[in-house]
């Protein structure tokens, strides 16, 4: 079990109805179904991933967040809406966050930190777009079109009245190091945010 998934599963209760945006091959949902007794759906656009989900018994819907949104899901119809490593790949992350917290009572979001020291270092020294384990692409073929830093994300949450219930910062291997906890925006590579609407709970 990947440590980030380990962290996420602690926040899922038995019987929770979960929506996983960009669910990939269904690993996380499969785990949550089997280990946590959760139910729910994954949304995905990659055909191979969709087939994998079907093969392992994860309910997956072919749906494009950018073009179709989440309009087919009712308000507050999920306990938790997950989005791991997909926020940076959607056209309007701000709107996706709104939608996540419309259809779900709670959201869990993970994304790579563009302010990590290695990326800052790479850009300042070489003058070229940085690459890392969390961002292993060239600038022209990357699916990640909305890169941000932890500070940026938290500023957006404040602006939107989204409450951050907890945040775990891990490195590229998803380890939770004490240094990263100390200077997250500099040393953290990936953050796992647990968010909710300001007024709820």
């Amino acid at each position: 079990m990947r440590p980030d998934l380990e962290i996420i599963q602690q926040w899922i209760k038995p019987g929770h109805h979960v929506l996983d945006l960009g669910c990939g091959d269904g690993t996380l949902l499969d785990y949550l179904q089997r280990e946590r007794g959760a139910s729910g759906f994954g949304l995905e656009i990659n055909p191979e991933h969709i087939t994998s989900c079907m093969g392992r018994g994860v309910a997956v819907i072919e749906q494009n967040l950018d073009t179709q949104g989440l309009g087919n899901f009712d308000d507050s119809s999920f306990d938790v809406v997950l989005m791991t490593q997909a926020l940076q790949a959607v056209r309007r992350p701000d709107r996706v966050l709104d939608e996540m917290l419309r259809v779900g009572r709670e959201g869990i979001v993970t994304f790579p930190n563009f302010a990590h020291w290695r990326l800052r270092w790479g850009l300042s020294l070489s003058g070229r777009m940085p690459e890392s384990e969390a961002l292993p692409y060239k600038w022209y073929n990357t699916p990640n079109i909305r890169l941000c830093t932890f500070k940026d994300f938290e500023a957006l949450c404040r602006q939107k009245g989204i409450r951050i219930k907890s945040r775990r910062v891990v490195d590229g291997q998803h380890q939770n190091s004490w240094l990263a906890r100390l200077w997250p925006n500099l040393l953290g590579e990936i953050a796992i945010y647990r968010i909710t609407r300001e007024k709820e709970q």
Partner: protein
Amino acid sequence: MPDSLPTDSVGIVSPQTYHFETPIELACGQALESYDLVVETYGELNADASNAVLICHALSGHHHAAGYHSMDERKPGWWDSCIGPGKPIDTNRFFVVSLNNLGGCHGSTGPSSTNPATGKPYGPDFPVITVSDWVKSQALLADRLGIECWAAVVGGSLGGMQAMQWSLDFPDRLRHSVVIASTPRLTAQNIAFNEVARQAITSDREFHDGRYYDFGALPRRGLMLARMVGHITYLSDASMGEKFGRELRDQAYKFGYDAEFQVESYLRYQGERFSESFDANTYLLMTRALDYFDPAYEFGGDLSRALAPANCEFLVVSFSTDWRFTPARSEEMVNAMIAARKKVSYAEVDAPWGHDAFLIPTPRYTDIFNAYMDRVAREVGA
């Protein structure tokens, strides 16, 4: 056709007739006192009867879904591409049941069968059958075969409607409902096409108000026209374009109204073949069953409420160029399932062949179907 049978074929098969003596009450208020269902099965039912898969046929389909009836048969069963050893519906693992529905014209009791009350063919007196009626008769067939619960009920188009209706009428008698290239209800445009087809049949001089059997007549032209209209709607503009373009049968225009374009002669040929093998009253009946299907009707149009009783998992598949039952219709169904908190998976397969794509193996379609059915097989220990 084949000199030798392909290794992934179910081989030579023969249909069986099951006779039912207990009357079946139909949605229209009438009953059939006794009736026959013609059935083909492939594969072996396992010890706990958990590996049975029901195949529901579409408008003009029947029990012969896979394999060959003889070495002389030109083409295999209508869904041979998906049923057989190593195919998505793997007959090494599943016991597959396919039947000709009530009202059909391939051996099951239908309008051309003898009405025991009169000793003559039923003709127009044969009751109108609904999708629910078919599902009821299929459940009685399952009883007869010793199948308490299907591993999956699978169908495309009108067959998909039956797969869906199963989940509502007998929620505890299927584990999976596979609904391919289907719709939760026909649109006005769909009904309009069906009406053109029916008008073509009923306005044929040889139709004799549906009693053509008594006159030794057959409304062949009407049935041919009906099939031609239908056929056009099952293909896409692109696939027709690719197959025929504007190709002429001869070099130049003849400035007349014979079949000059290849597509015309193709349609005429298809229509004629069909009119020789299909019963006109059955065509009327099947298109009406399509028109009537609308599980949401009793629930004020709210499909998610209609779906409340369903207990199975769903797989819904649509095809990008299907304009008869568009992907939007499948999405409507999927969204209602989501709202009703049913477990559903959905994919839209990019394929150029229009509605007919559900009968044609494309890599993505086959992958999806394989992955899903493999998982169903594992679940039932097949």
